[in-house]
């Protein structure tokens, strides 16, 4: 089982869209996949038409995988399940900080799913909190969507520094460009500058696309309802690149 976080400090950068489409593509490739919706906005659950599980509370997270598994929902797609967490992060941070090894809690919870899933995608909340730190610790790879602007570079470098300070391996960070508008000179320049910064940006670039925004109308992954769209093809390329990285990290 590989845990892949999709994380950004900033909101509105195409994070949930990436998590939803990548999880869908992994399942379509025949891998048993679980998508954990850890973002309090619960957009991923919305895209899959899954209502938040009634009776789910933050405390349930710590009751072990058997209890947690009761809240997992099959999506309409084969091999793809979803955990609609709808977490109150304020409560969760409090609960986490009260436990021993508060940064490893999520990892030990998710490890219980290892017999059931080959891939676990985490749609992460956009902030640096104890929850995020748990995600940093748990994830084998952390995909970071970056909109190519100067401010994004600062935000990403802040994340790298945070990793170094916490003695986490920044090699697990996989930044990629998201919501790119090729016609904007500013985007092109920023991409050039960021690629030169040596942070190992992935080759795949997700373009800005009205189709992605239509995911909210279709309530399905774009790779399902419009696989030919440029953004869908870019997601597929990103998925293949991710799998190649996972395979390379295993060698």
């Amino acid at each position: 089982m590989k845990i892949i976080g999709v994380y950004s400090i900033k909101g509105g950068v195409g994070k949930t869209a990436a998590a939803v489409n990548l999880a869908y593509l992994a399942a379509r490739a025949g891998q048993k996949t679980l998508l954990c919706d850890l973002d309090p906005q619960a957009s991923a659950s919305y895209y899959f038409r899954v209502r938040p599980a009634s009776g789910f509370s933050v405390r349930k997270l710590f009751k072990g995988v058997k209890i947690l598994d009761r809240y997992v929902r099959a999506t309409d797609f084969p091999d793809l399940d979803l955990l609609p967490a709808r977490l109150s992060h304020r409560k969760l941070d409090l609960l986490l900080s009260a436990r021993k090894k508060p940064r490893r809690q999520l990892w030990s919870i998710l490890a219980g799913f290892s017999a059931d899933y080959a891939r676990v995608f985490l749609d992460c909340p956009p902030n640096i909190s104890l929850v995020s730190e748990n995600i940093f610790y748990a994830a084998d790879h952390l995909l970071v969507p970056v909109v190519p602007t100067t401010l994004s570079l600062l935000a990403f470098e802040k994340l790298v520094k945070f990793f170094r300070d916490r003695q986490l391996d920044p090699g697990r960070l996989l930044p990629f460009f998201s919501m790119v508008e090729e016609r904007k000179a500013m985007h092109r320049d920023a991409m050039q500058q960021l690629r030169a910064s040596g942070h190992g940006f992935l080759r795949s670039v997700i373009p800005y696309s009205a189709e992605v925004e239509r995911m909210g109308l279709h309530r399905a992954p774009i790779n399902h309802f419009r696989p030919g769209a440029a953004a869908a093809r870019a997601c597929l390329a990103l998925y293949h690149e991710l799998e190649a990285r996972i395979a390379a990290a295993d060698d």
Binding site: G30, F48, R49, V50, R51, A53, R70, Y71, V72, R73, A74, D76, P78, D81, R219
Partner: protein
């Protein structure tokens, strides 16, 4: 996934509005599904189905219908062993389950499938169901299709499933089988996957000993007969193996309990059964080598592996010849008559007048013979502690086997919680002894090959290096295993185990005076 039969004169299922909206996903799609399993139903026993349709070969959970692994349809898996399937996760999942057994076609189901789902107010599917119109089972065709409905649960939506089942029952639908395959098997009255090489004869402790033993022997004969066809068709190596185990159990029982019979009565059978065993020895030995091929090769460094090729090719050739000999023998009048005579004897009303022991209650006899055999194993302790010779180890291995057969034959007379720990311990000891014996014979066979093989030049050198390397490895394994023998035997004859045996065999009626050894 359990299937529900449509009530008479009902052609469709109406979803109550409060459950959501029923949506037809796919209309009447014709499908032919062929199910596969091993002769002894290994997939069935693990709650799995292996099905081939035009969409692919898939391994799925029998109860939920959830597909675990799917590959391209490929060629039919009929009579294939796991290593002959397409490489991939499905094959990997099959490996530990199938072992050396081949897959066999169980049944072919021709049906027309209609896929529907129930969606909630968000447009999300909460439960699915399939309407299956069975059009043929193998060659059989019903006058009109048999219609079934199979609910397909979605994870996390248990309530929707329960509501659907409730609605089905309300409309007179009845659960008829745990899966479409199970339903079809019921229809055909087939007993596919029911075979087991276990003895499974429930004995009444008060039964006259000979009557009880004859029941077990009849069951063992049945096992032998069930395996004959598989040996003749060379489906996999386990047919011959099971046949021989049943034969050995029979011979061992007759030998250890010959005092229950008049000597002249059973001696001819003991001779003819021994003759059958002799005719199949070589083939089984060769099977064991060939099954070990992969392990042998993997234990050698990559550079030395090709050198084993010639050895195993020769062995495969010898096996083909040996198989023909066995097949010819099984068709021979001598074999057929021997088996028929044995069968006729077992079916005859037993004459219990002589010897007297034939009438003793079976539990009492079982206790006596088991106690004797267990004691006999203890006599080997001293020799094993000093320097055991090959003949000593051989004799000890045989004694353990005899005891094991007794425990298996009389298993139904003892409480499992008392018997099982003893069998487990004995099995541990037997594994060591069996391993030592195999390693000894394998080294001998390999050395013989070195002196008899007709290779020359470079090929002889590579073969020599590989075989030499293998002998060295086997010899090291043997030395390592040898260190486990003495502790295993000590434990098996130790005070704790002796107490367990005493508890198992405690009874007022133990008599050892008239027991043959």
């Amino acid at each position: 996934m359990p299937v529900y039969a449509f009530p008479q004169d009902v052609s469709r299922f109406v979803l109550p509005a409060e459950l959501g909206l029923a949506r037809l996903v796919r209309r009447g799609r014709a499908q032919t599904a062929t199910y596969f399993d091993t002769f002894d139903g290994r997939l069935h026993r693990r709650g799995l189905h292996l099905v081939r349709t035009r969409d692919g070969l898939s391994l799925h959970q029998a109860d939920s219908g959830e597909a675990l692994h799917t590959t391209r349809p490929g060629s039919s898996p009929d009579r294939k062993r796991w290593w002959e399937l397409l490489p991939g996760p499905l094959r990997d999942a099959c490996e530990p389950i199938l072992g050396p057994r081949a897959l066999l076609r169980v049944l072919e189901l021709g049906s027309r499938l209609e896929q529907s789902e129930v969606v909630d107010d968000q447009g999300k599917a909460v439960v699915r169901f399939q309407v299956i119109a069975l059009e043929h089972i193998d060659e059989q065709r019903p006058v009109r299709p048999i219609r079934l409905l199979a609910p397909q649960p979605l994870k996390g939506y248990d309530q929707a499933l329960a509501a659907l089942i409730e609605a089905l029952k309300g409309q007179g639908f009845e659960e008829v089988a745990p899966s479409p395959l199970a339903f079809a098997l019921l229809q055909t009255g087939s007993s596919a996957g029911q075979y087991s090489p276990k003895i499974q004869v429930q004995l009444d402790p008060e039964l006259p000993a000979r009557v009880a033993l004859l029941r077990v022997l009849r069951r063992l004969l049945q096992t032998m007969q069930q395996n004959l066809d598989g040996i003749a068709r060379d489906i996999d190596t386990e047919f011959l193996h099971d046949f021989r185990v049943a034969l050995r159990r029979t011979r061992s029982a007759l030998g250890q309990m010959r005092h229950l019979f008049a000597v002249s009565e059973i001696q001819p059978f003991r001779d003819s059964l021994a003759e059958i065993q002799r005719h199949t020895n070589r083939l089984r030995d060769l099977d064991v080598y060939l099954l070990e091929r992969r392990r042998f090769e993997q234990s050698l460094p990559v550079a030395l592996r090709p050198g084993l090729g010639h050895f195993f090719t020769g062995m495969a050739r010898t096996r083909r010849a040996s198989l023909i000999e066995v097949q010819t023998y099984l068709e021979s009048a001598a074999f057929q008559q021997a088996l028929q005579a044995w069968s006729a004897y077992l079916d005859r009303e037993p004459d219990l007048r002589t010897p007297e022991s034939a009438r003793r209650p079976v539990l009492s006899v079982a206790r006596t013979v088991i106690r004797r055999r267990y004691a006999k194993i203890g006599r080997f302790q001293k020799q094993v502690r000093t320097a055991p010779t090959a003949p000593t180890l051989h004799a000890l291995r045989i004694e353990c086997k005899k005891l094991r057969y007794l425990l298996e034959i009389f298993a139904s007379l003892f409480p499992p919680e008392q018997l099982d720990p003893l069998v487990k311990q004995l099995k541990g000891l037997q594994d060591v002894l069996g391993g030592l014996n195999d390693l000894h014979l394998q080294q001998q066979e390999l050395s013989d090959y070195l002196t008899t093989c007709r290779l020359s030049g470079k090929r002889a050198l590579t073969a020599g290096a590989s075989i030499g390397g293998l002998i060295a490895l086997l010899s090291a394994d043997q030395a390592r295993l040898m260190t486990r023998l003495e502790p295993a035997l000590r434990r098996f004859r130790g005070r704790a185990t002796r107490r367990l045996f005493e508890a198992l065999l405690a009874g007022p009626d133990a008599r050892s005076d008239e027991v043959a050894t």
